[in-house]
Symmetry: C2
Subunit: 331 residues, 2 copies
């Protein structure tokens, strides 16, 4: 295993120290593993809290800032944050307007965030949860009941974050988050497996000419293995797979995210994006907005995921709203 770490045990603490050193605009509580904005919002607003296992950076800490999250709770690598951690975050950012928890659909996350929500409610904090389950690859697995949550998390956090920033009440912020999730579908392909530091070796073996189609962001098995093919064919298959589970029709508009899984160069992601755009054009679907890069990663895994979110004017306006976080910024 070749990694820029001190020891597998200290990965999260050491990375949080680095986030603290690099981002004075964030407040990093290293012992409690909570990242918040250094400057609290001027007026009370619904607070967005997200989290999950580490290893998916910039998710979630990289999305803390005006227009997006109020706090992130990173767990150990590929491990859910604990309930106390989420509770600490909720306490830190609740201004009385309530807290929205954005949770990816994995059994551990669902359980721990639910417990945290109950504890917060007992303290008088109003809590709602949006569960993200956009990955069409598999239904039910060792990690999940139902679909897994992946790339759509970025869109839920951005769009619900924009509405929260405008002072909308908790029910509306939760509703728009659920709407984005319902309008989103994702699918991923891996060229290599990720190596979890504590494991010391790749999570699965993949022959030199094969890919894992429908892989999860923790290296969960996908639908099948097949030979690596040209980007054009692969992108077309991924687009068709996502559309088969979507309610998109010719004439519809989407926000398209071509997301790197951590080990794939940006050059290749742009090639994939070009082929995705070409295939969507064949289906008559218009890309209204796009995002290309590493947003929901799986450590050093090579590969990409595609997320398509059916867009309307309301969602696009919130997508375009200002945001200032380490990983996503627009004015």
């Amino acid at each position: 295993m070749k990694k820029l770490i001190n020891s597998p045990e200290s990965v999260l603490a050491d990375a949080l120290a680095g986030v603290a050193a690099a981002h004075p605009e964030l407040a990093v509580d290293v012992p409690n593993r909570v990242i918040t904005r250094a400057v609290r919002p001027a007026a009370p607003k619904v607070a967005l809290v997200s989290g999950g296992g580490s290893g998916h950076e910039p998710l979630h800490g990289g999305f803390v800032g005006p227009g997006m999250l109020d706090a992130a709770c990173p767990g150990e690598v590929f491990t859910s944050p604990v309930p106390d951690q989420v509770l600490t975050a909720a306490r830190a950012v609740d201004s009385g307007a309530g807290v929205l928890l954005v949770v990816k659909n994995y059994t551990g996350d669902v359980m721990n965030f639910r417990l945290a929500a109950e504890l917060a409610a007992e303290e008088g904090i109003e809590v709602r949860t949006v569960l993200v389950d956009d990955d069409v690859a598999v239904r039910d697995s060792t990690w999940t009941a139902g679909r897994r949550g992946t790339g759509a998390t970025v869109l839920v956090e951005k769009i619900a974050g924009a509405l929260a920033e405008r002072g909308a009440p908790l029910a509306e912020v939760a509703a728009v988050g659920e709407r984005v999730n319902a309008a989103s579908r994702s699918f991923a392909v891996a060229l290599t497996a990720a190596t979890v530091p504590a494991a010391g070796k790749p999570g699965f073996d993949l022959p030199e000419d094969e890919i894992e189609v429908g892989v999860g962001i923790h290296g969960e098995p996908g639908r099948r293995r097949e030979k690596l093919r040209p980007a054009r064919e692969l992108a077309a298959e991924v687009v068709d797979t996502v559309l088969a589970d979507h309610d998109l029709a010719a004439g519809d508009e989407v926000i398209a995210l071509v997301n790197g899984l951590g080990g794939t160069p940006l050059l290749e992601l742009y090639i994939v994006f070009g082929e995705v755009a070409a295939r969507l054009a064949e289906h008559g679907v218009t890309i209204a907005r796009s995002l290309v890069g590493n947003f929901v990663t799986s450590l050093d895994m090579a590969g990409f995921s595609l997320t398509l979110t059916k867009a309307d004017a309301g969602l696009l306006e919130l997508w375009d709203a200002p945001v200032a976080t380490p990983a996503l910024h627009r004015s």
Copy 2:
């Protein structure tokens, strides 16, 4: 070789098609391989043109936009753009205020940009060139006379771009670019080699427990190979190596860039940044601004580079100025 490409021959054209599809704020001339801003600056201003081999994305195309570059000329992978390409870019963006070429110090780039500058001058375009040569690892090599140009390119383009955006004359814009380069030193470490698509295999062999210390962004040999060590030791060595070639003293301020080479997860880059910050603190050097992520990559190479730029109030103010490009954005 596992890559998301259609064929080694079409990598650049296919990637440019993707950039065009993803970024309506850019104008991509795919046949001529020139990326410009879709919306020209409202008033005449000095135009910044950069370029170099592909495979270093987001450099340079990802830095085209208000506050930074006016045009980028990507060559084939790890291959200089041709003079005609640079000339086409200079013609496209010159508003009469002149053109600043930002060139990384590699023999091919230097030669082709010089020829382009001569051709542009014959057409009456005023041209100045800033040569970036920040890499302290080696002096002279098969690729370069003098030091190689690496991470400082981002700082030169950002800071000179900010001054150009304010309407400063060409001589001043060139001078600040030269000042940033002179104030910058970089050093890189590779954990793995990059695979150039046309070569089909890694550029060099590196045993499972060894790293290349002082590697170049095309996989050029560094100073030596050594065993992989904890991030803390490695970061300290890299900081000390950069400082040994720098004129920084206790009490000085720097802009610190911890740059991923393409295949290293952000989680690890933050661990490195934390250790870099700790070592700089031991030297009494203050990090005034920071940047962590993939900015000057080497395809899928795992590893990182550190760039330290000695900062003063003037440079920091230009560094903080608004910028709106695909890879760097602040308001």
